[in-house]
């Protein structure tokens, strides 16, 4: 029993560090499959955090949510992505606007910014700073991925990372949202993924490529 307690304590105190590492690695990843893999690792870390919180706070719901995270975000969604990449037969490159060096410095700045923002907020409310900063960093990273990657698939992935961040923020501040809402959000993501999958196929069929920087007809 003691070992499990220690383990959960360590997980809770250190998992933000590993999330930062996934953030840094996500922005330099050059292949879609690597990015998806990092996303699943990220979700696994968050799931571990959920389980640890559930154990510490004695919330049974947390185990359900954690299992859902594990199932959907670590197994289902990445597999869907991989099969999508296979079927689209698109090149594996991520096609970023920024070089890896620039991206990683931007990521470092984003991490610092999230800490700075959380510090000014965290003093008023009693929240663990590290996890909240990690959550904000994930949100920023998701947005950054959406902005800086030209492939449509990466827009999807950016959205998913962003959702990860919001989920983590909710977990940190309120120890999870009610179960119903959680399930609803998961459902939302799955439908969203389905739609995006359909859309990517349509884009590919119409334009013969997946480069969103060339889709310029969205003008009035």
């Amino acid at each position: 029993m003691g070992l499990v307690e220690i383990a959960t304590g360590k997980v809770l105190s250190s998992f933000s560090v590993f999330l930062f590492l996934t953030v840094l690695l996500l922005v330099v990843a050059r292949r879609i499959s690597t990015s998806v893999l990092l996303f699943s690792v990220q979700s696994a870390i968050i799931a571990a955090g959920v389980f640890a919180t559930g154990f510490q706070e004695r919330l049974a719901e947390a185990y359900v949510v954690g299992a859902l995270v594990l199932l959907i975000k670590v197994i289902v969604i990445p597999r869907a992505f991989f099969s999508l990449v296979e079927r689209l037969k698109t090149s594996r490159d991520v096609k970023a606007w920024t070089t890896p060096t620039q991206s990683v410095f931007i990521a470092a700045a984003m991490i610092y910014l999230s800490y700075a923002a959380v510090h000014s907020y965290g003093q008023a409310v009693n929240v663990p700073e590290d996890s909240l900063a990690a959550a904000v960093a994930l949100i920023l990273t998701g947005a950054f991925l959406m902005v800086s990657r030209k492939k449509a698939l990466m827009q999807m992935l950016g959205l998913l990372v962003l959702e990860n961040g919001i989920f983590l923020a909710a977990l940190t501040t309120t120890f999870g949202m009610p179960l119903v809402i959680e399930i609803g959000i998961f459902f939302d993501i799955l439908i969203g993924l389905l739609l995006m999958g359909i859309f990517t196929f349509r884009i590919r069929e119409t334009f013969d490529h997946l480069d969103v920087s060339k889709l310029r007809r969205l003008r009035g």
């Binding site: 360590k10 560090v17 930062f20 330099v28 070089t99 890896p100 990683v104 470092a108």
Partner: protein
């Protein structure tokens, strides 16, 4: 007594360096499903080279002949800074990690000059690429060490090791993880290992470090090979000392030293296995992707420094 153990540490690093190389080679061979050469092979190689004669181009000056010697001297001096079995070292002094980095730079400076003195295009190519890699690797090297030093509130390596010894292994701090990541990347770059450079390549156009030593032969080449083995061993020992020193002897008794030595060999074996896995699993980066690799290392180490401030808040 402490002085004797310090000398012993330096000797372990210097004399055990070819063994480290041999072990890495053997591990790589196993991973690649080969038999591999014996782990004692590098010693035989050095002995063979020492018996041969030196071939010197007629246009070369004394810089060509002296470069391997200066390189070896600087690297031996580096080995005197790193704690192995006890948290102190022969030349440990305040601010010595700067001295360590710059001694490596001294060796590399003379090696590059020796490469250019050979008068061949390969030497120039190797020296020019090495200049690029080492330029970009210095900043993350120093920043990573600075981050650990700020956290430990000590500026000598021995002091940092002592501080880490008092920490709990499971209290992984963000600074340490980030610093270890960036320092590991820098060690790969500095020692010329994959994915930055292939130490076993035979194609001159893919060489960085090997290209610089193409003109050398006989005892000069032996000195250079030995020096690069010492560099690898010393940097691995530095990583172990800074990030995983638990088990180091606190007293001077033979049992404690023996135990510490055993633990060091185990940890070194783990690191070498990791290195072998990386070398066998990752392809060499194209030359102009190495700056990206080192740029990531720089950003991670800068983040480590920033985190020291955030952690102390």
């Amino acid at each position: 007594m402490k002085m004797a153990i310090n000398v012993l540490q330096a000797l372990i690093l210097i004399l055990g360096a070819p063994l480290a190389r041999g072990v890495i080679g053997k591990l790589k061979a196993w991973i690649q499903r080969r038999q591999g050469a014996s782990i004692w092979r590098p010693y035989a190689d050095l002995a063979k080279l020492f018996r041969k004669e030196d071939l010197v181009p007629p246009s070369a000056s004394w810089v060509f002949r002296c470069a391997p010697i200066v390189l070896l001297g600087a690297t031996i001096a580096v080995a005197a800074f790193v704690p192995v079995v006890q948290p102190s070292a022969l030349l440990a002094s305040w601010g010595d990690f700067f001295l360590l980095v710059y001694l490596l730079a001294l060796g590399r400076f003379f090696l590059s000059l020796g490469a250019l003195d050979g008068g061949s295009a390969f030497g120039g190519m190797g020296a020019s690429r090495e200049a690029l890699v080492s330029t970009l690797a210095e900043a993350p090297f120093l920043l990573g060490l600075v981050a650990v030093s700020i956290l430990a509130a000590h500026a000598d390596i021995a002091g940092m090791v002592t501080w880490t010894l008092h920490q709990n292994f499971f209290n992984v701090s963000a600074v340490h993880i980030l610093a270890f990541t960036s320092l590991a990347m820098v060690v790969l770059a500095e020692t010329g290992r994959m994915p930055v450079d292939n130490p076993t390549t035979h194609l001159e156009l893919t060489m960085i470090h090997e290209g610089m030593v193409l003109e050398y032969s006989g005892p000069s080449l032996a000195l250079i090979e030995w020096a690069s083995a010492i560099k690898l061993h010393a940097l691995l020992a530095l990583l172990i000392a800074l990030f995983g020193p638990w088990g180091m002897a606190s007293s001077g008794s033979v049992e404690a030293i023996g135990l510490a030595l055993l633990l060091y060999c185990t940890k070194a074996a783990v690191l070498m296995l990791l290195l072998a896995v990386i070398e066998s699993g990752v392809a060499k980066l194209r030359m102009y992707l190495v700056p990206d690799f080192l740029g990531v290392a720089s950003a991670v180490s800068a983040l480590a420094v920033i985190f020291t401030m955030l952690v102390k808040r």
